[in-house]
Symmetry: C2
Subunit: 190 residues, 2 copies
DNA sequence: CCTTGGCTATCTATCGATAGACAGGAAAAA
DNA sequence: TTTTTCCTGTCTATCGATAGATAGCCAAGG
């Protein structure tokens, strides 16, 4: 089967996502990417004129995919604890996939080197996640104040990202599991 | 006053630490560093033969300085809550210093590109911090099980690092404060 | 005199980006 | 229907900038 334009674009984005999750935005190279996909670097520039365009597209796609997945979960009327289980599993999956990180998490660490277009997408990812967590918390604790739940949502998002960062840094996924267990034991998350 | 050998070495390390905290290990450049210090890049190579040597020295120094500071705090017999206040303030200070991150935190995100010598130093930083947190937790809750406190120590370290990462990514130090507040409210930390 | 510690100059590798050629197919003109 | 034109998408080749690293020179000071 011949490769269509969309095939190549998607292949670039797939390879790019994996590369960023493993090595960060700065280490993303048009040449390496082209080699992975089986084209020349100039062709990658054809699809994504600048590196910033590619980075922004990757972050946006990452957010959109994640958002759709989260919405789907929420629509299935699971209990908050079950929702959190699945949420935690998403970030765990990145680690178990060759010690990778959340794409927007690793980009956050490189913030100062990101083109503006990429930054806004990274912010958007955080906003989407925090908003989803807030909705889960409202289900779990309808009586709590809005401010408290909002803070909790940010805190859970940050805590999970931090557990991922530490576990990755020490190359020990057990640290992720232990952190999550402690978050739960303390009642930070449902 | 003439600059001694040690002066230059220290100046390189000081500038290097700031650069890594702002842009990460990968963005650390011998040329930029040399320009900051007022020497030539070859001179930096004289003091630190390879980039890995410099990175490892920076991480080690960072850990040693932090460790000494933490030991000093612990020796002053503060209450656990006061100790945590000060601990939290350390990581907050990095953020308020031009949106920087913990040196070893940002290096954790770049793990795959770190020379082995740097990795071990990054691991050491995490180990030192977790060990210190465990000691604080033992003071706060002498009756809790060792396993539970150990998990909590890892979790607190991860949670604070995550709060720093998210706040940096969104360029909003308020997210750090809100996260810490929620950690405390949930009882994750004293 | 000889070690120390900086310098100049340069090397190789790689980066993002661009220019220009060209193949192939669709669309338009004959 | 046949021919011509044009666009799409990839290619080769190359640009200037910058990376880390090295060789060799030279001045200062014990």
């Amino acid at each position: 089967m011949a490769k269509t334009k969309t095939d190549i674009r998607e292949a670039i984005m797939a390879a790019g996502r994996l590369a960023v999750q493993a090595h960060g935005y700065n280490a993303l190279s048009f040449r390496e990417l082209a080699k992975d996909v089986g084209v020349k670097s100039a062709s990658v520039h054809y699809h994504f004129p600048t590196k910033g365009d590619l980075g922004a597209a990757l972050a946006r796609r990452y957010t959109e995919t994640g958002s759709a997945y989260l919405e789907g979960m929420l629509a299935e009327n699971h209990a908050p604890a079950e929702l959190m289980d699945r949420y935690v599993a998403i970030f765990r999956a990145a680690l178990s996939n060759d010690n990778r990180m959340c794409l927007c998490g690793i980009m956050s660490a490189e913030l100062d080197d990101l083109p503006p277009g990429v930054r806004t997408e990274v912010d958007q990812f955080a906003a989407v996640n925090v908003a989803w967590l807030e909705r889960v918390l409202v289900i779990a604790e309808p009586k709590a104040s809005q401010q408290a739940l909002s803070d909790r949502a940010v805190a859970i998002f940050a805590a999970i990202g931090g557990a991922q960062l530490v576990a990755r840094g020490c190359q020990d996924i057990g640290l992720y599991d232990r952190s999550i267990r402690a978050y739960r034991a303390a009642g930070l998350m449902p």
